[in-house]
Amino acid sequence: MNIAAQINSILAALVLLTAFGLLVQRRIYGLLHLFAWQGLFLSISTGVVGYVARQHHLYISSILTLALKVIVLPYILHTLIVRLKIHKEVETVVNIPTTMLMGIALVIFSYHLTAPIRELSTLVTRSTIAVALATVMLGLLMMITRRHAVTQIIGFLAMENGLFFAATSATYGMPLVVELGVGLDILIAAFIFGIFFFHIRETFDSLDVEQMARLKEEE
């Protein structure tokens, strides 16, 4: 393996590490920082792949990711956290060691699931598609095991990170128009959930999503 592929592997490992970190981190600001780091590793990885494969549109992708996921989204989340005055730790539904074990099981599962793609791919980045799917699954696990609205959204965004990573590792990135569209969607989603948090807080006086279980009982 040449040096660029090794760097890519290390970045993929770091992305996976941040995904697990998001799963087990209790403090809100910690989650925010981990999410920003994940975005940073992702954009560096995209840049490296762009350099190795000589795909210049990946540079644009990389800068876009940097702007959106490392700067804009964490800034929006930070403003929300300050305005909503959330300072406490967040509770989890399942305890942390069990969550970690489930996470490991998901990583192994996604490794097996992406085996056919790994065999068919001829790209430099083919080994990282398992990490990408694992990040998606871990984001999903995070959404399920958390009770706080903000952390559920961070799980959702982490899942989108995984999808972006999957696009880069399987196919050297989707066409630019699609990438732009996806980025736009995420930005709109960010605004929407920002507004949402305020609505939830106004109506329920807390951001604990377990409070929002009334529709289930009244069936």
Partner: protein, 482 residues
């Protein structure tokens, strides 16, 4: 040119209504915008009918018989819903259930939603299809929570999270599809174009497409409301304002199914097996059974009809999965008549709940005596939706049943079971609501005549005598979906 008008009007109207949405003439602008979109869609349809499939905008748009029919349907229902929304939302605004900003937001998002749906239907690029579906979801999320009650916010949150997760899976499926396409078509935007994909579908790698379809099924299936991914649907369709319930039930589900069927065609041609069809049949049948049994215990009128939507989408999915000319014809017809009937039902239900100030069925009574239009509209709507002749739903369900008995006879009893249970459940619920004396808590309401009558008449006509152009159209679409 037509395409520009088609998409541009709704987009432009959205921007305008964001500013003037609360003024007196805002609903009229809404109606006018939707009407212009409808006329443009009809022009497009006529063009495609005579000249065949059309590609425009440097391969960005692709219009064939399948999606142009859905385009006309979408534009039509949104026009009639805009007419309905005029009277309905005016009363809601008067009663203070919606604020000033709420009205502006509502009107703007309504048009943006239509834009997103039309974009999803007309685009040739599978990636842009995904983007438009996501945009359609996002534009309606905050509309579901428009009334700001705890239940509405909970419904909107569930909708956002569950559909967001689902559609993320669909994105992964799209990435895998692109991966397979790239090998054959080379990199760049060319590889995501439907027209190119359909030509090289035999060369796409089957294992990858199989995996991709699983993710696409989960993703777009969540948006269609297939069991077990349906949890968001009853909440979202019942808590938002009624016009939104109508378009969500009547239109968005159709478009998600359209996306799913397009992917199924690709996968079928590539793998040569029936895997996609079997999956769709399985999910469809499960949805029919679960939804029809769930109808028995519902207490809220809108949730009742939301579950009915799940059931009918299940029928359509099942039929598309079954494949073959009869079933596909039935499925296409079913999408049309379900859309018209369900939105009409939601119009009447909306007025009924406005009259009584509640959505609980035990508190709604005496509709026929109180407001004959609403009462009889509901009666005919329910008769249509359970599949009684001479309405159009009977025709489509009959066709699907025939095809099932021919191709998958063991599943026919299950299908009949689902349809029968739904029949019984709906009639049982609706009967006390329409008959009897007028209760004390009922207030008069100025109902919206045109949409309800128009929809029911159309469904009746399609049931009795299907116009030639319509059946020819369907035959062309069936040919495309082989």
């Amino acid at each position: 040119m037509t395409l520009i008008i088609l998409l541009g009007v709704s987009f432009f109207a959205a921007i305008v209504l964001a500013f003037v949405g609360d003024r007196r003439f805002a609903p009229e602008i809404n109606i006018l915008g939707s009407a212009a979109t409808f006329i443009a869609s009809v022009v497009l349809a006529v063009h495609v009918y005579y000249e065949g499939p059309m590609i425009a905008g440097r391969n960005f748009f692709f219009v064939d018989a399948f999606n142009v029919y859905l385009t006309v349907l979408t534009a039509f229902v949104s026009m009639t819903t805009a007419i309905f929304s005029r009277r309905y939302m005016r009363r809601e605004r008067e009663h203070g259930r919606v604020s000033h900003w709420g009205m502006r937001f509502y009107h703007a998002m309504f048009q943006l939603f239509i834009f997103a749906m039309l974009l999803a239907l007309l685009t040739n690029n599978i990636g842009v299809l995904w983007i438009a579906m996501e945009l359609a979801t996002l534009s309606t999320v905050l509309l579901v929570s428009l009334y700001r009650t705890p239940r509405a916010i909970e419904a909107a949150w569930k909708y956002f999270i569950l559909c967001g997760v689902g559609i993320a899976q669909a994105l992964f499926g799209t990435v895998l599809l692109y991966f397979a396409a790239e090998k054959v078509l080379g990199e760049g935007g060319e590889a995501l174009l439907w027209t190119n994909l359909i030509q090289v579908s035999g060369q796409l790698e089957p294992t990858v497409l199989r995996l991709a379809f699983v993710f696409l099924m989960v993703g777009y299936g969540t948006k269609v409301g297939l069991v077990p991914l349906h949890n968001w649907l009853p909440d979202a369709h019942s808590e938002g304002p009624t016009p939104i319930s109508a378009v969500l039930s009547g239109l968005l589900l159709n478009i998600a199914l359209y996306a799913l069927v397009r992917c199924k065609v690709l996968v079928d041609l590539s793998t040569g097996t029936n895997m996609a069809g079997n999956m769709m049949m399985g999910f469809g049948l499960l949805s029919i059974l679960v939804a029809s049994f769930s109808l028995l215990r519902r207490k809220d009128i809108k949730r009742l009809f939301a579950y009915s939507s799940i059931e009918h989408m299940g029928i359509a999915t099942f039929a598309f999965g079954l494949g073959g000319p009869i079933a596909t014809f039935g499925a296409l017809l079913h999408m049309l008549v379900h859309s018209l009937t369900k939105s009409s039902i939601f119009f009447t239900v909306g007025h009924a709940s406005q009259m009584h100030g509640t959505q609980e069925m035990s508190k709604i009574k005496g509709l026929i005596k109180g407001n004959p239009l609403v009462g009889w509209g509901l009666v005919f709507g329910v008769m249509a939706i359970v599949g009684m002749p001479p309405f159009g739903v009977f025709t489509s369900e009959f066709l699907i049943l025939t095809a099932t008995m021919k191709d998958a006879p063991l599943l026919a009893p299950l299908l009949l079971l689902g349809l029968g249970v739904a029949f019984a459940a709906l009639f049982r619920r609706v009967q006390p609501m329409i008959s009897g004396a007028v209760p004390s808590n009922q207030k008069p309401v100025k109902a919206s005549h045109i949409p309800i009558i128009l929809h029911m008449v159309l469904v009746l006509i399609i049931g009795i005598y299907m116009p030639n152009f319509l059946s020819e159209w369907f035959h062309t679409a069936v040919g495309l979906l082989k």
